[in-house]
């Protein structure tokens, strides 16, 4: 089986008719996201994200490598998304599918190519060594809107992650362990997120954060990548039925509002976690002193 179970005709009819009456299956408004929960693992940059029933884990890791020959001042940043049978039985292990390619493209454009992570700050020694940052996305449960969820998780991970400190001494790069020196946060230039809109009933109904069923009933998609300042960094009207040009402008405003909202939630979750860590760190420190 390598296809999602298709939506039945009556289910589709029901979803469309409900939308015509401005109602969604789970009672949300058209511009409302599902409840978002962000938690963190033990390591820095280990984010567990739950958006309704879609859930995923993002892990950020860093290692020292050689920069590319043509860009000696730049570090490396890579987003890795591989769909496994864990997220949905329709996905086959070890084989990529259309959704994987599409989601990778969107994430790459919104996060990596918009320079959200300042790669120049990853350079350690020109042309010799630099940091390579890697974001691995594990999709645990898939219930629609993979790209937005992954985007939020990656951005949270990048802001939460701390890389070990490194200094250059006599042409030798010395990497300090986490115990020796306070690890360093990554340099984030701006915080773009993607917001996916799905259109129904000849573009009359446009909703955000569609569930899997809503995605299956959708006639077209519009993705807007935008940051807190209102700078659009990615727009994609990738497939499906046409959308009125004015809608793109209107929806950009909706997206901006959503992004601001999510970024606030993200910030809150992160500050709470970092405060908890700091407290724990203090406790560890005092305990170590007591031992002495």
């Amino acid at each position: 089986m390598s296809k999602e179970a298709p939506l039945s005709v009556s289910e589709r009819q029901f979803i469309l008719e409900a939308l015509r009456q401005d109602a969604r299956l789970d009672g949300r408004g058209p511009d409302q996201f599902r409840p978002l929960s962000i938690t963190f693992g033990e390591e820095y940059g280990h984010v567990k994200l739950q958006l309704g029933k879609t859930s995923l884990v993002v892990r950020i890791s860093a290692e020292v490598t050689q920069p590319r020959d043509d860009r000696p001042f730049d570090g490396l940043f890579q987003i890795n998304l591989e769909l496994s049978a864990m997220g949905s039985p329709a996905w086959e292990n070890g084989r990529s599918n259309d959704l994987e390619a599409y989601a990778t493209h969107v994430l790459d454009s919104v996060v990596r190519r918009s320079n959200a992570l300042d790669t120049e700050s990853l350079c350690i020694l020109k042309g010799v060594s630099c940091w390579s940052i890697r974001a691995d996305v594990h999709v645990l449960d898939f219930d629609g809107n993979l790209t937005d969820a992954a985007c939020i998780a990656i951005m949270t991970g990048l802001q939460h992650f701390r890389r070990p400190d490194a200094v250059v001494k006599d042409g030798q790069v010395i990497v300090y362990g986490v115990e020796e020196r306070v690890p360093v946060a990554l340099n984030i230039t701006h915080k773009p997120l993607s917001v996916t809109f799905n259109s129904y009933n000849d573009g009359k109904n446009i909703i955000v954060d569609a569930t899997l069923k809503e995605e299956q009933a959708s006639e077209g998609e519009l993705v807007i990548g935008i940051n807190n300042g209102g700078d659009v960094c990615f727009v994609s009207k990738f497939s499906g039925a046409p959308v009125d040009a004015m809608e793109v402008v209107v929806k950009s405003n909706v997206a901006l509002e959503k992004v601001k909202d999510i970024n606030t939630k993200m910030e809150k979750a992160m500050q709470a976690d970092l405060a908890k860590r700091a407290k724990k760190g203090m406790a560890d420190l005092s305990r170590a002193e007591n031992d002495r």
């Binding site: 060594s129 006599d170 030798q172 990497v175 362990g177 020196r181």
Partner: protein
């Protein structure tokens, strides 16, 4: 044909099958009939291929068969043939991204370690220090100086089609070989290093180097600078299974062993004037690798008499009960050494034991694996280790001759 027709003209032809057809249609029954022949027939129990259960196939090893490699080996295990070629390439330390990077906790340790090894390296077979073990690991494993790659070439067995991505088996074997190279620490890191001993510095050079960083360094260190590693030899170990008739791992690993024993590295040194590494083309100056030990693998497959064991909703006997039954001889199984392709298809449970012998003849187990079933336990494994130890003696002779 004529005689057959005259002797038994009435016998229905359909009831008798020639052995090859029987073997294909009822592989399990066929092998079982060979292993436990009817008492009346007075035939000894043997495998379908005529071997005794603990008998290995005829093995031959040949080294230096490929000319364009630093070392090569070919091992034949019955119809399974593996060829291995070792090619050494120089890797400048400048080209290693992690070379100029050190973890602060052992930043100083590394230099000191390098020194101590330089001193102790020549003194030969002494007790290895922990530092040496660590340094070996740091260089060989972290810098990936050993790169084995195995390929099951098209046509080695009917199942391998051209153009297909490497099968899971191929990748698993590559990993097993690499992790065994690491865990047995077969190759010494010292053999792969290219050192450079800087001459005593002239006064103007001393001055240049004597910045703040070096002021607090002991005076004598400034006089004779420590030797430094300029490059490493990376060994690309390519294994090709030309023909696969079961037990690819044993053949592959022994071909690696033969090839590494045959490998000669040319003398290499750092040329200060050209700022590059030069190699000598004189064979007399090249040197062989000094390997640690000779780990020899023996693989086994377990054939169970009860063909139904797999599909019946079996009530599995307790471990204790199983042992008791085994003593009575009610559970019938044969552990087949060096299974061929036909036998591999009939055995789910596999065991692989890799042993080495120390100078005093003591057997050391280097790796012992078994999975895929529940019949082999302590007693069987003890016997298998004994068989593997005997196999070691046999293989040592074969390898020393080639």
């Amino acid at each position: 044909m004529v005689s057959a027709a005259t002797v038994a003209p009435a016998a229905p032809q359909s009831l008798s099958l020639p052995p090859p057809q029987f073997a294909r249609l009822q592989p399990h029954a066929y092998l079982l009939a060979h292993l436990s022949p009817p008492v009346a027939s007075n035939q000894p129990s043997a495998r379908a291929n005529g071997r005794a259960p603990s008998q290995f196939r005829v093995t031959s090893a040949n080294s230096g068969s490929l000319t364009h490699t630093n070392g090569s080996g070919m091992v034949r295990l019955g119809d399974t043939t593996a060829v291995c070629g070792v090619r050494a390439e120089l890797l400048h330390t400048e080209d290693i991204p992690s070379w100029s990077v050190s973890q602060s906790s052992n930043a100083n340790k590394r230099r000191r370690l390098a020194d101590s090894i330089k001193l102790s390296g020549q003194s030969g077979d002494h007790e290895e220090t922990e530092a040496e073990v660590e340094e070996d690991r740091a260089h060989i494993e972290d810098l990936n100086l050993l790169v084995p790659n195995l390929s099951l070439s098209t046509g080695c067995a009917p199942g391998f089609l051209p153009g297909a991505p490497p099968a899971a088996l191929t990748q698993a074997l590559s990993h097993k070989i690499l992790s065994l190279l690491h865990s047995t620490r077969l190759v010494r890191a010292e053999d792969l290093r290219v050192w450079y001993q800087p001459p005593n510095l002239g006064p103007e050079e001393l001055e240049r180097h004597n910045d703040e960083e070096h002021m607090d360094v002991d005076a004598d260190e400034a006089e004779s600078k420590p030797a430094e590693i300029k490059a490493f030899w990376v060994l690309y170990i390519d294994i090709m299974i030309i023909s696969l008739a079961g037990n690819p791992f044993d053949a592959a690993w022994m071909s690696v062993l033969t090839a590494l024993r045959d490998t000669k590295l040319p003398k290499a040194w750092w040329d200060v004037d050209n700022e590059t590494i030069l190699c000598s083309d004189s064979i007399a100056e090249s040197r062989k690798l000094s390997l640690r030990g000779l780990p020899i693998p023996s693989s086994f497959g377990v054939f169970e008499a009860d063909a139904a064991a797999g599909w019946r909703a079996v009530v599995i006997p307790d471990g204790e009960k199983l042992k008791a039954e085994e003593k009575k001889g009610t559970v019938q199984k044969w552990i087949l050494a060096d299974p061929d392709g036909y036998e591999e298809g009939l055995s789910q449970e596999r065991a692989c034991i890799i042993v080495d012998k120390e100078q005093n003849g003591k057997t050391v187990i280097v790796s012992m694996e078994k999975h895929g079933g529940w019949t082999v336990d302590t007693e069987d494994l003890r016997q298998l280790v004994d068989i593997s130890a005997r196999r070691w003696d046999e293989m040592k002779q074969i390898m020393d001759q080639c």
